[in-house]
């Protein structure tokens, strides 16, 4: 006997993501999911974004890592409400892990919640968390061929931040190559070029994010 199932393998996650989203909408908090490979500068961008916007927005952070609390400690030292999720080996955050972290944050007092995903260019793209904005980073040191190698992530993101522009010219990375490949896959993507280390280009990013949070 054949039984029709027609059930998506990620349906259970997407159902929890919908519930997360309802909680975010109810609390009036804008949620951004930050994804990139390890070492691209996710935590640096979180720190810089908080620095640039904390006078105007109330910001909380969920830190996803396979292990350790080092990123969360950095943010805590800066006075940011932060919850650490250790995935214990899982290569991505899923909606349920985020849902379990939410009671540790006072969502109603936040304007912006940044979820820093596990460093990985593959898996986080498959898992909805209930976010408003998917932001991914690519750093100059990683090479300009990455969009061709990890197309799902680049085709899903709303925003691409190219980080470490202070290293341009020290290798073969060409931002125009990245722009051409990525807009070919994802015509609506918004791209920023910046350096978290020097601060170059950050203002354009933070003012864009500020407008997105305020205009939701």
């Amino acid at each position: 006997m054949e039984i029709e199932v027609l059930e998506g393998v990620f349906d259970a996650n997407e159902e929890i993501a919908r519930k997360n989203r309802e909680r975010f909408l109810e609390a009036g908090v804008f949620v951004m999911n930050l994804m990139a490979s390890p070492g691209a500068g996710k935590t640096s961008l979180v720190m810089r974004t908080v620095e640039g916007l904390r006078d105007r927005l109330s910001i909380g952070v969920i830190e996803g890592d396979i292990a350790s609390r080092v990123d969360a400690e950095k943010l805590k030292a800066a006075g940011v409400p932060v919850v650490q999720i250790n995935t214990g080996g899982a290569c991505h955050l899923d909606a349920n892990m985020v849902s379990m972290a939410l009671p540790h944050l006072d969502l109603s007092r936040l304007d912006l919640l940044i979820i820093e995903n596990v460093g990985n260019l593959v898996c986080p793209a498959e898992f909805q968390l209930g976010e408003d904005l998917k932001v991914m980073m690519l750093s100059v040191a990683e090479g300009d061929d990455k969009p061709l190698k990890y197309p799902l992530m680049f085709s899903q993101a709303h925003v691409l931040v190219i980080n470490k522009t202070d290293l341009l010219g020290m290798g073969d990375f060409d931002p125009q190559v990245v722009r051409k490949t990525v807009t070919g896959m994802n015509p609506d993507i918004v791209i920023f070029e910046l350096s978290c280390r020097t601060g170059d280009g950050l203002e354009a990013w933070t003012s864009y994010l500020h407008d997105r949070v305020r205009c939701r």
Partner: protein
């Protein structure tokens, strides 16, 4: 890369439907897998033997129907397989295209005794 947890999801879905129909054994599982998902079917088959071994799905045959990435131009309606996910329409050069397939990953049906 996360085929282990994906395999657990598939087992949960199949066992739930089998139980609802009072099945004794799952013989075959028909899955649909889009080429853009990055899921490796051999890995799922590998994990299946480990994870399903004490269930009524232990001997099930996993059959994957692969779905290619297909885009449709919003301007001229052309459907095509975009190379390297370059969505620009090869017929009219239009830049507004949508993906019509390639992202699906679902359990289509199960065959049971």
């Amino acid at each position: 890369m996360h085929e282990l947890s994906v395999t657990e999801n598939i087992i949960d879905i199949c066992l739930r439907h089998a139980r609802n129909h009072g099945a004794r054994r799952i013989v075959r599982i028909n899955l649909v897998l889009g080429e853009l998902t990055g899921i490796v079917d051999q890995c799922i088959t590998f994990y299946w033997d480990m994870l399903a071994k004490d269930t009524i799905a232990a001997q099930a045959e996993l059959v994957f129907r692969k779905v290619p990435v297909v885009a449709r131009c919003r301007e001229c309606g052309e459907e095509y397989r975009p190379e390297n996910l370059e969505l620009r329409c090869p017929r009219c050069g239009g830049e507004q295209a949508e993906l019509v397939s390639g992202r699906e990953f679902r359990v289509e049906s199960i065959e049971v005794d």
